[in-house]
Amino acid sequence: MEMKTNLKKLPNSKSGGKGSFIKDIIRNPLSYLLILPAVIYTLIFGYMTLPYMVIAFQKFNFRTGIFNSAWVGFKNFEFFFKSASAATVTWNTVRLNTLFIFFVTVFSVSLAILLNEIKNKWFVKITQSTFLFPHFISWVIASYIIYTLFSYNYGIVNRILGFFSIEPISWYMTPKPWTPILVGMRVWQATGMSVVIYLAAIVGIDGSLYEAAKIDGANRWHQIKHITLPLVMPTVAILTLLSIGKIMYGDFGMFWAIIGDNGILYPTVDVIDTYVFRALRLSGDPSQAMAVGLFQATIGFILVYTTNKIVKKSFSEGALF
């Protein structure tokens, strides 16, 4: 609520009116220059590529292009929807992403609150940097770390099990543990960056609110519960909404690097992106790839739109649009 009011008060943020957009550019050239790369990127990859979506409904011929390829209706969707794996990979994608969103959010918000409570700046900085570090490690490197942990012969986990006289486990042949392993890896990798955002939101909370609460006798826990959490919720809601938009997209880099061609683990961890990649790596059909992409985008759009509507009704500060 407060944020919206503030926005309205900002100078040069007035919209509408004849020529006001051009005038605004002239008045704030540097600001517009700053967002120019993002605008160009979005225009090229977000809009100029849209016409290409028609190939999802065509038997695309490289020679005749999108204007002269034969129309085939929904035939390109068949390879995915008729396959025995469609339901599994769709469910896995949604299930794993929901778990990722939930655990990353819970860990990030908790960690941000804890870090905010710590007064030793050096400690906070070192902790934050340590958590942020995995964000910059590629999934390929992470896959080696995982292999070091879970390999059958020399894996650290099996060695620990051996220490307690427990039989070693063939992790790469046992599908069930991979859901928590992947969730753990995602939390390890993504928490640091989210903490930065949540911490920024928490630091921005008006200090006088805490002082007033203290005078009223609120302890640390009460302050967190009644001030920090409610005021950080709009940020949580917006970031969650953005994540929901991508709930149908598995993090391809992550899944491919860690799971790769391991068919035994597919029942629990195969996601749409890896399934489609494997399928089209073999057949190389752009129409089928587009059909699945369109399916993911449509579901993502519906989910964001619906969730946003629900959020808007019950918690308007958290709505994205």
Binding site: Y152, G260, I264
Partner: protein
């Protein structure tokens, strides 16, 4: 007003996007030499630019009016990048095709490549000379030549054999196994008595065609397996491969190997370089196929090893050598180029003399390699990197006529890859190219499903009896019967015209 401008800009972008994907404008009327952009997988060689400049200098000297550009596409993005280049109408003149990944017939079916008969006739005399007619016959789609075969290997290839360390057999008082059961017994003993570092296994990869070497031991040999989905007998009978008794035998062999600890339990999750490292250090119980191309590395890592200490043999050597494919690799002319003749002209130039071939494949003589006796070569290694600064992989476009093996190459490797035994029997399918487009959805689903459900079975990681029924059900649901029926139909039509 502003909204109108906004809409106008968006519509403009939309149209420009459509034009971009509609094939784009072709380069035309440009003066100077015609570009030959040769697109192939791999990372750029250290001194590719220097060799490219030398090739271009020689092309001008020879009056070819061509300018070569070597376009390296990293392995991990090869399929995506080339598909995108073809889809968006990007111009390039030559593209490499790996038949075991994504065959030329598939590209042709989607209109991604053009037929090149007229260019071969006009600009390809050297190509015609060094590639035999029967190999050209395999390059045809609907009677038209659609690819330039890399006729590097002999017809035998290496897939029917297996490789074992003879020194380890001798150390354990074992003779060379003659049956699959003997092989597993020997491998188990070698593993048990292994004195080197770590454990040893059969270092196969999850995407391997490891089982081919077993087929010579079956009474039904020879037969052909297409994409691990279709079996074709020499009498022309087409059937579903996974439902055969031989597939079951393959699976049971590897299951037995797994139970004896010869298949690594992490085989599906291991980093990609594991298998190659095992082979390079010659730390294996045995290996399907012929990894003797790695002999120089094996020798480096085991200085005490001699050439005779490692052998590639096959079961039932009295049976004829069976050739399944004419070539495994080829190069094609994309339909996006406005100079379809340029790629043909360039490869013809490469194959027109030993000097041109040497320059293209091995780099500059004296800088990247030097001649050795018996038509061999010695790579000149960069002292800092320990490897040569230029090499064009011969499996992509090499030719048996000109090929120079490294001086240190294993003689058995050279023999297997350059000599065709007189009694060679050829697969009935040679020359037939399956067009998957009519069953594209089912074909794609089947290939994917095979990797998910069947690979763990055939690698012995899970039990055949227990898991096969479910896996087959999934493969059938993906459309296996339809794919086999389509193959049968196309194959019979082709046979009728033969």
């Amino acid at each position: 007003m502003n909204k109108r401008i906004g809409y106008f800009v968006l519509i403009l972008l939309f149209i420009s996007g459509m034009l971009a994907f509609a094939g784009g404008e072709k380069e035309a009327g440009k003066e100077g030499p015609v570009k030959v952009r040769f697109v192939f997988p791999g990372n750029p060689e250290q001194e590719a630019d220097i060799v490219q400049a030398e090739i271009n200098r020689r092309l001008i000297e020879d009056g070819q009016n061509l300018e070569l550009e070597l376009v390296y596409i990293p392995w991990d993005v090869w399929d995506q990048k080339t598909n995108l280049m073809l889809t968006t109408g990007e111009e390039f003149e030559l593209m490499h095709v790996m038949e075991d990944r994504h065959g030329f017939a598939d590209y042709a079916g989607k209109g991604a490549i053009v037929s090149i008969d007229e260019y071969i006739d006009e600009y390809g005399p050297a190509l015609k000379k060094v590639i035999p007619d029967w190999v050209w016959d395999t390059a045809r789609i609907d009677g038209k030549i659609t690819m330039i075969p890399a006729y590097r290997l002999s017809a035998t290839g290496d897939r029917q054999g297996w490789t074992i360390r003879k020194d380890l057999l001798e150390e354990n008082n074992l003779s060379i196994p003659t049956t699959p059961a003997e092989l597993l017994d020997a491998a188990e003993i070698i593993k048990k008595n292994w004195k080197g570092d770590g454990e040893i296994y059969i270092p196969i990869r999850s995407n391997t065609d490891a089982f081919f070497f077993l087929h010579r031991s079956y009474d039904s040999f020879p037969f052909t397996v297409f994409q691990k989905l279709v079996r074709i007998d020499q009498d022309g009978k087409v059937s579903s491969w996974v439902e055969t008794e031989e597939f079951k035998k393959d699976s049971e062999f590897f299951r037995d190997a797994f139970n004896r600890g010869l298949i690594h339990r992490d085989i599906l999750g291991q980093p990609n370089d594991w298998a190659i490292n095992q082979l390079m250090s010659a730390s294996f119980a045995f290996q399907p196929g012929c990894p003797l191309n790695l002999w120089p590395k094996m020798k480096d890592n085991n200085p005490g090893m001699e050439i005779d200490d490692i052998v590639t043999v096959s079961f039932n050597p009295e049976k004829p050598t069976f050739s399944i494919t004419a070539v495994g690799n080829d190069n094609v002319v994309p339909s996006t180029t406005s100079h379809p003749e340029a790629g043909v002209k360039y490869l013809n130039w490469v194959y027109s003399s030993q000097e041109n071939y040497d320059l293209h494949f091995y780099g500059i003589e004296g800088r990247h390699w030097k001649k050795a006796p018996n038509h061999r070569r010695i790579s000149i290694l960069d002292p800092d990197r320990g490897q040569s600064n230029y090499r064009f992989r011969e499996w992509m476009a090499g030719n048996v006529e000109y090929l120079r093996y490294e001086e240190s190459a294993h003689p058995r490797f050279v023999e297997l890859f350059s000599e065709t035994p007189a009694d060679t029997e050829y697969s009935i399918t040679i020359g037939f190219n399956f067009n998957a487009v009519p069953v594209q959805a089912e074909y794609t689903s089947c290939l994917t499903e095979y990797n998910s459900s069947m690979v763990p079975i055939v690698l012995g990681l899970i039990d055949y009896e227990e898991n096969f029924p479910t896996a087959l059900k999934r493969l059938k649901a993906a459309g296996l019967d339809k794919v086999v029926a389509e193959y049968d139909k196309q194959f019979n039509t082709w046979m009728a015209t033969k």
